[in-house]
């Protein structure tokens, strides 16, 4: 008899519940699934849940300490995000967010490749709807680009899994060599982890969602991919360099951003870089660092997106050039944002100080001084953009005649709780350590380490203050590697999709003639979404077939 339940169930059942519940009852019902999921995740014992489908025994839940730490934080952030959007979330966002939370839990607890793939794709589709919740044309376009990238990534994963299984690979998810199917699976994981140069779907999509939508987005996809990397590819040297590159790339591009949520999105790329580097190091300290940093990052990044979302909610503005002087009008938001900003910057007493130290210490323990130096340099850039540039231009500086509307109490309550968790796990790192996969002997609060961290922040602030007039917002955007697939997308949209739709049209006309009916479907319906859907399906199956043929 099974004595425990999968924490994804409350979220998946909750998605149905909030999908059909009357609007008035939705806020009261919305907190029940997260509460239940948190309780289930916290109580997860080591073990497995299995089911036999078509003669195959699927391990749809496999709990160990690595899976459990991710399950707890995913369950938790689903609840905090729900509280944040309680008064403002659309029904569509509530449903999609619950499905995304359930799928993320499904990924980290999946014991076999089939279960992992199903939840992987479910998360992609749910996230597509969350991006689209921004409700603007830009959000719709970004959501569609998001879907295209993740369908391609999903196709790679499917192809890799098919190849792996066809080659008598085991059904259980576990370490793979970096060759053949392993290379395809690594590439699929790298897409979701936003490894440079596969990252721009993130900085394209996350800033376009609604305020609450961005909070959910910031938590699930990249961290589920970090978990997958830690599970399947620990100790791969390529990941060390990929991680260090991400850490620096993100902070450099963040300096150039004018959109506050895009600036924060580039810092997701950077922070996930620390985790990827930790996984690449592959030592117990490195894996602990990756897991701890994922846990911390989900909290402080959610807090930062909550703060940026509160500014957007209150003013309707998101560009640094349109903001300024909000500190007096929105003091609570300012203070709570700064807790997140100092946490991500690695300031003592907050969780980022503890978890970032673990990753850097893991590099130092392996005498990887150059990697440790790059990660520390990235930390400088993090404080520069998130801790100094953004708040100085948004909450400080001259007022721009803005009269912000009140931020809902539920938003502030969610920010306060998230900030409190950043603080508690920062001052009591043993609480975080107790959840990690390996025993931790690392002590972050030594006098020289604390003073060194403060020195780094103070030194960064010196340069910022001296160059501040060059670091305000500019009414510009930046090009990134997404320009390549945007160009490909335009070609598909303008040339290939209409051609395929034309063929479908002609086949339909022939079929209609044969059965004596007049053509009933307008051509434009096929040329748009249906044409794209046909292309996506062809892409997915094409890659899977090629992989099978190679196996």
């Amino acid at each position: 008899m099974t004595e425990w339940s999968h924490p994804a169930w409350p979220y998946l059942a909750g998605a149905l519940l909030v999908g059909v519940a009357p609007a008035a009852a939705r806020p009261a019902l919305a907190l029940l699934p997260p509460a239940l999921a948190i309780a289930l995740a916290w109580a997860l014992p080591e073990g497995r849940l299995t089911a036999t489908i078509m003669g195959q025994e699927l391990v749809w839940a496999r709990v160990d300490s690595l899976a459990r730490v991710f399950a707890i934080i995913f369950a938790l952030i689903g609840g905090l995000g729900t509280l944040y959007g309680l008064g403002s979330s659309s029904r569509r966002l509530s449903v999609a967010a619950f499905v995304a939370a359930g799928a993320a839990l499904g990924i980290v607890l999946a014991g076999d490749w089939v279960t992992l793939y199903v939840f992987w794709e479910t998360l992609a589709i749910a996230s597509f709807f969350i991006v689209g919740d921004g409700g603007t044309t830009r959000a719709s376009n970004a959501a569609f680009r998001y879907l295209l990238v993740h369908v391609a990534g999903g196709a790679l994963l499917l192809a890799g899994i098919a190849w792996h299984l066809a080659g008598d690979g085991g059904l259980l998810v576990g370490p793979l060599p970096l060759e053949g199917p392993g290379a395809l699976i690594l590439l699929a994981f790298a897409v979701n982890a936003a490894v440079v140069p596969l990252h721009p779907w993130l900085t394209d999509a996350y800033p376009e969602s609604s305020p609450a939508g961005s909070v959910f987005l910031s938590a699930f996809v990249t961290k589920a991919a970090v978990y997958a990397l830690a599970r399947v590819f620990p100790g791969q040297e390529a990941l060390v360099w990929a991680g260090a590159t991400m850490a620096l790339y993100g902070v450099i591009f963040a300096v150039l951003q004018n959109d506050i949520r895009r600036l924060l999105a580039y810092h997701i790329v950077s922070q996930v870089g620390y985790m990827v580097a930790g996984v690449g190091l592959g030592t117990p300290l490195g894996i602990n660092g990756a897991a701890a940093h994922a846990f911390s990052h989900i909290l402080y990044k959610a807090l930062l997106f909550m703060g940026a979302g509160a500014v957007l909610h209150a003013t309707g503005r998101r560009r640094l050039t349109d903001l300024g002087g909000l500190g007096r009008a929105m003091p609570a938001t300012f203070v709570l944002y700064m807790i997140g900003a100092l946490a991500i910057s690695g300031a003592p007493l907050l969780n980022g100080f503890v978890s970032k130290s673990l990753v850097v210490a893991a590099a130092e323990a392996e005498h990887r001084w150059f990697i440790a130096g790059l990660l520390t340099l990235a930390s400088v850039g993090t404080f520069l953009s998130v801790g100094l540039k953004l708040p100085a231009a948004t909450f400080g500086g001259p007022a721009r005649g803005l009269t912000p509307r009140a931020v809902p109490a539920t938003m502030l309550a969610a920010m306060t709780l998230t900030g409190a968790l950043c603080f508690v796990t920062g001052v009591l790192p043993s609480m975080l350590y107790a959840l990690l996969p390996f025993r931790v002997a690392w002590e972050p609060y030594t006098a020289d380490h604390v003073v060194g961290a403060l020195e780094l922040l103070a030194g960064t602030a010196v340069t910022f203050v001296m160059l501040r007039r060059h670091l305000g917002g500019k009414p510009t955007i930046t090009l990134d590697t997404d320009r390549l697939y945007r160009a490909a997308g335009r070609w598909v949209g303008h040339t290939l999709a209409p051609a395929i739709a034309g063929i479908a049209d002609s086949l339909e006309a022939r079929a209609d003639t044969l059965v004596g009916l007049s053509p009933g479907v307008p051509r434009h319906m096929i040329a748009g979404p249906v044409g794209y859907a046909v292309l996506l399906a062809l892409l997915t199956f094409g890659i899977a077939l090629i992989a099978l043929a190679m196996a």
Partner: protein
């Protein structure tokens, strides 16, 4: 140098002095972190501005 910048620089120097007096378990000499903060920040801003001007920065209506 502005007064806030001078104050922050003094704070950084003070922390470096404090570091000298502390028993160290690290590998870098005292003041390294402060110097990395100042110089690293300068470097990152320089690289970002150069990259922006030379290659990636466009007007906001670029995609319209």
């Amino acid at each position: 140098m502005t007064r806030p910048a001078a104050a922050l620089l003094a704070l950084t120097a003070l922390l470096a002095l404090l570091e000298m007096a502390l028993p160290s378990v690290g590998h870098a000499p005292p003041g390294t972190s402060g110097a990395l903060g100042v110089v690293g920040c300068l470097l990152l801003i320089g690289v970002a501005k150069l990259l922006g001007k030379a290659w990636v920065e466009r007007q906001e209506d670029h995609d319209d």
